[in-house]
Symmetry: D2
Subunit: 337 residues, 4 copies
């Protein structure tokens, strides 16, 4: 950590901060510059030190040198991780595609969707049974009934089931049916839930909150990893910006950035990331060109009649066509599907 | 709702959408413009209709006319609501001030803080016992022990205790000690938690998520109201923007906007809203000038040694001085304290 | 346009607005809904009407139906436009690559860069002679001397020269040397400059301002088109968001959105769009997968010693490698290079 | 400056960077931490060094210690500056209010507005003669005719005239009529224009661009100051964020932040900062409570018929009432009017 003193900081203030740094178990090293004095605080400790030093007298700023996360860090585990569930393989050079409807609505809908995913070359089936909805008046999902239908669709196709868990008290129930537990963007910092999925023997797909920084996302993953579950996939699903022609802004530079900082695989969600079906195929293609490890795409047999997210769902033909393009691009950039 | 057709939309597509609107129980009314056809969909239904219509063939956009929330709406209840707990009164012309440390750390710390709040004219005591922390390695709060200390501080001073509840399973426990339940920004869309606090006989302070829109905030409140708890306060604590000289950007126009749209009172948090103690007094004053119904401010007997949020906490003298200014401004704009 | 009245709007207020709409030369059409009255204003006029109606008594909101731009609109010219300068062809299915240093620094630097661009298959040479710099103390460009070196590099390689013009008074000078005039992001709403380049016989590369909406970008293009210059290319170079791990956030959904709204070609700048050289190759690849019509990439013989933007410049080998990948992806998505 | 090396940086890379730092005329000082090596670069130089070092081999990040601006800095001139023009005094404890229409539309309109400003206690008259408009089809201002009307209004009332200059070639013309030159938000980084107004003997009101950082704003001011014009006022007029219920988000913490970093006075524009007339009075009050040095407010004799910005303009009565409140708040916080 680097503690930058204000221009007029007194010798006494500098000395005070030197003592504070030492008191935190770090080794202080003072550098007298032409205009400012800075104190380097040397040692392994990371989190919380910054906060403690920032309100010291005469302190202008505190700049951390080390990343605040550990287990997720590429410095700790240099080789990329691969997360697998049935035939779905995501990471370390393998591109896995998860697709399916926003919500499970009926047996026919989910079974036909699963067949379409399988036929087009996907390996994971998404489908919400517990749905976090912005409005209390919206469809809230089929709950356990939906989970059963997902399991039936897996039975039929062999696809790995990926579905959201919204609350600690549902973790065991959902884990009883699902192959991969999804933690939604709204719950990215629901720490109890993160701890709960960290204690279950299921891979976790952790979605980035729409205003979460990279450090916040990686610290949320750290909550899960820290409980002992190593199988975490990070999912970029778009951030909130001033743009209004898309529902969210989908920043694909996330992929290369995360690949540099963490060994965890990165999945892109072009459906939520754009909010409009017509933008999904190109952004799915772009994500693969940028070396995403996985994609999660919303499809529906009849988007117009979907109970949720119809406006951003592809129909089966559009999805099949998208998969054809994706395969060509994966080839071009050396990803195996 | 207004369904705007694309320029080249066919008569068949328009007819299809007219049928869809009718099928949703709304009355369609077609207007043929010079360049576009639009269909007005008349009726009381709100949510979900938009989504259903947006993916129709030839549809360019769907524009809602009605707000998606109801119980929170000023159209439903025109007069402003006041929320009270002990001597704390917030709303309908009364300004209530809540202050206290970020986290409860010790008996001495919380009791001395409570006395400082009381002495300066505050009516509510904040203090976290269950702390949602970005990093799993940060101090996570004293839990029930902290709640007991808060209750002791109330015993001593008569202040209303305001404290965060992080998970459904803690609601009863926290409600056993607290006068007001706080739902934190990270949990604004934790719908299970919203439902849980909607079923408890305690006022709720609902913090805006850092990227939540006004509609999303009001719909989160609607989850609570819809369960039967009418005592909801909305709290603006800053939004995430590109600015980096403050931790969040605190948009005070929120106050007048919400006063126009909802009867629920609006509390401002200048501590999280700026992230720097030196900015807190002026932003607290500004909030009152903009007719906030309440303030929630972080204070600490010794900010430099705080276990959390020291950099944005006022010491007792700074807080007392801030209260003096606030009182003058409340007078100037006609708010009672 | 749709004028939405407030819930309690009186008949008199509605009548007043009906008269206002008629007074603006539009045909009013009143729809009485269950809860609200709305007035459809039918006619061809676009801009300014919204502003005029928005402050009317009892008006809740005014929603435009038509886009505010015309000449740039795909409704006016459905087929995509191609902009060409020497061998550089951008748009209508052809992908053109422009590359070169941020600033022209010396003859050797620009000539060697031009050769590297040519060798790798680029058709345009970028290089700043007039540099808009955030700080008055930074290198401000070689000015006319730089233009001469660009012309020499063109002589040598046949590449089309793309360079920025910062002020009206320089337009003729720059147009005397350049094949394409670039209007920088900071000048996107410098309307005098837009008019000036609209009156010159040179294609224009118009960069999106970092907080410009799509409508603002297209209206800026409209200023140029409206003066009679039809050869405008739109350039996405990243927007300002809360993200700090990249200098800007590069939203590739811009491409498909603009392709739907306008016939003008879309060029992506992955160098400014990310601000870090290591992110450029993947984002360039992603842009092509998303069907960009062009790329503009910063390269430098020795990025570490560049006078500007070294941190986001590729060296020649990295650029050549990037071009190899790009060519494969262009193939995969059907773009001709 | 602090150069942070990557974890695995070699001794050779460290040595290379040490040489680079020395080559830039700074004194290198190496600190070997537990996990990372950092190099402190000691010396007075500011700008450009960062860029130069950032692309070095093995470099993880470069963190500047010194602010990039100098003349604007409070470190250089500790006491606050006051900018005056006729009776308008802004800064150093004096609050000055500028008001008037968005655009000059007619003699009657501007004269009556000036009288209303004067009567309510304002000291500056705003009014656009050259109007930068998003659309080429919008009203572009009365140009010199408008300047003449502003001068006539000054003749009548004694108010200081504040008006925008859009282009270098207009600077002399506008300075011939105006008391204060305004540089608009769209031109904040039009460096030629900044230099031009830096060479004129008129105070400058420099508006923050909607996505400009504080450093960018202060560096834009530095361009003006560096040419020799010391009379610069900074104007916060709102930033672009995801919020859509206001046109821009008005961050009042800007005031206290700038007061800490610069001696230049800070003016708030609650009209553009909110974009809705009903929000202006409260935000004007809030700005004064946060110790703004000045306000600039749009008013119009009949907002509904304004040729521009009617939706955010107060009528004369609303303005007079706002001034009454402002005066009470200025009293409460110790500002002289």
């Amino acid at each position: 950590m680097i503690v930058v003193m204000e221009k007029g900081a007194t010798g006494e203030q500098v000395e005070h901060m030197v003592q504070r740094v030492a008191g935190l178990g770090l080794k202080p090293h003072v550098i007298y510059g032409t205009e400012r004095t800075v104190i380097a605080a040397i040692g392994e400790k990371r989190e919380q030190m910054k906060e403690s030093l920032e309100s010291g007298p005469g302190v202008s700023a505190v700049m951390p040198i080390l990343a605040p996360y550990k287990i997720a860090s590429r410095e700790v585990k240099p080789e990329p991780s691969m997360v697998a569930a049935r035939d779905l393989q995501i990471g370390a050079g393998r591109l896995g595609v998860i697709a399916g409807p926003c919500s499970v609505e009926s047996e026919e809908q989910i079974i036909s969707s699963a067949r379409a995913v399988k036929a087009a070359g996907g390996a994971g089936l998404r489908g919400g049974a517990f749905k976090p909805r912005t409005s209390p008046y919206s469809f809230q999902g089929m709950k356990e009934e939906g989970l059963k239908l997902l399991a039936a669709a897996r039975e039929e196709t062999g696809l790995a089931v990926v579905t959201e868990v919204m609350a600690c008290e549902d973790v065991d129930l959902v884990a009883g049916y699902a192959d991969v537990l999804q933690v939604g963007a709204r719950n990215m910092q629901n720490y109890r839930l993160l701890e709960a999925v960290g204690n279950v023997d299921r891979p976790v797909l952790l979605k980035r909150g729409p205003s979460a920084t990279m450090d916040e996302l990686l610290l949320a993953a750290e909550y899960i990893l820290n409980e002992g579950n190593p199988n975490v996939m990070l999912c970029e699903r778009g951030i909130r910006t001033f743009e209004s022609h898309t529902r969210f802004t989908l920043p694909l530079a996330t992929i290369a950035y995360l690949h540099r900082k963490t060994h965890l695989p990165v999945v892109i969600d072009p459906s939520h990331g754009t909010g409009h079906a017509y933008l999904v195929p190109d952004m799915a293609a772009a994500a693969v060109a940028a070396k995403a490890d996985g994609l999660i795409i919303e499809i529906h047999p009849d988007p117009e009649s979907a109970l949720s997210d119809g406006y951003q769902s592809l129909n089966f033909d559009q999805f099949a066509e998208t998969m054809t393009t994706i395969r060509r691009i994966a080839d071009a950039v050396g990803l195996a599907m």
